[in-house]
Amino acid sequence: MKLTTNPRLNPTIAVLLMLILGLILTFTAKIWLNIIVFVGCLLYLLACRVSFKKMGIALLIAFPFALGSWLSFISFSHSYTRAWLYATRIYTYFSLGALVTLCYSLKTVLLSLHQHFRLSNTFVYGILTAVGMIQNVKAQIKKIRIAANMHNQTLNWWNPMLYLKIIVSCLNWSDNLAVAMTLQGFSNDYPRTETYHDSISIFQWGLLILLALVCGGLAFF
């Protein structure tokens, strides 16, 4: 889990901003707008004191995709404008995603969405429970492969048998975890004590609407 790093926006607002701006930019063809949004996101990440190392790694990872897009439009569409449009769009998508993933933990985002959009607790706690099992899933895949090797079989990722064995493991875990949660008092459709609270100020709603309108206006008019 990532630690929350001095976020300024409410997590729900950050998620909405990411999705709305992401959708607007999908249907526009303005390079300078991509760059403005990208720079805006970077400034926000700096304000949130996200480490330079994390941001650097994210930008480096994006490079092959941006380069691939750029090269493919030069090769097949013979247009530098389009090449730069789609190369910069990739960086803008990355930076919009980073607004959420580098600033908030998954738990904070889910709890915030539960509070403001009534995302069901069944989904919030179901997802969080499963996320706690990541290392187990990794270890189980190794075990299944080693066990297969002992029978002189190789289970590659394209072998349906690997999926069957993993699904059976997931079913066992989900049975046990669901029972454990029920024993701890979790009930699907009943309200529970809410320990997480955040508030969205009118200023933040206003900022979201303003940014969406400005970005939409610049994109389409």
């Binding site: 992401g22 995709f65 439009f73 996320v131 079913l171």
Partner: protein, 189 residues
């Protein structure tokens, strides 16, 4: 040893269903992580659109597997979306595109099951879902990845490659997984 089974009759979402789909989403996240390396090799070249379409099917497997396991409305969409959310937070290098693509891919596959009224979740519906997923994701990429600007002959090739990839991984492979699940009585026939 008796293998665990899935109860397909409940129409509402239980904590068990969500944990199961999330665990499967994590598993697919790990598969996607490995698949990303293959994609990376091709993505940094002018062949990126071809790499996109050739490899796409693998990213669409989580949805149909979820639908065939739980046999519920929206299981496909939710399974794919969960895989996208977890991929974005835990494994990803894709930013917001992961979530948006996850929704589009989930919707694309879900349409195949929805068109027949979620009756059987059989291979026919699975085949239909590969067609709807191909068309809907391709329509989306016309805008998101700028396919609109590629020449027509290239678009036709890309569409065919996409259908082959989705048909192979999210169709034939998922059908093979389903066959094993039925054979071991993990899901009912």
């Amino acid at each position: 040893m008796q293998l665990p089974t899935v109860n397909p009759h409940k129409q509402h979402w239980t904590i068990h269903d969500v944990i199961l789909l999330s665990l499967i989403a994590i598993f697919f996240g790990l598969i996607y992580q490995g698949w990303n390396y293959v994609y990376y090799l091709l993505a940094a070249t002018p062949l990126k659109p071809y790499a996109n379409d050739l490899t796409l099917g693998v990213w669409l497997m989580a949805g149909p597997v979820s639908a065939l396991l739980l046999k519920k409305r929206n299981a496909c969409l939710i399974g794919e979306l969960l895989a996208a959310i977890l991929e974005m937070f835990i494994f990803s290098s894709w930013g917001v595109a992961t979530i948006i693509s996850g929704i589009i891919q989930g919707l694309g596959s879900e349409c195949g099951f929805a068109l027949t009224g979620y009756h059987h979740f059989d291979n026919g519906e699975l085949f239909l879902s590969t067609i709807t997923a191909t068309l809907i994701t391709f329509g989306w990429d016309l805008f998101q990845n700028g396919y609109l600007y590629y020449p027509l002959h290239m678009l036709i090739t890309l569409l065919l490659l996409r259908f082959i990839s989705i048909g192979l991984f999210a169709g034939l492979m998922v059908a093979a997984i389903k066959k094993l699940l039925i054979k071991t009585k993990v899901v009912a026939a």
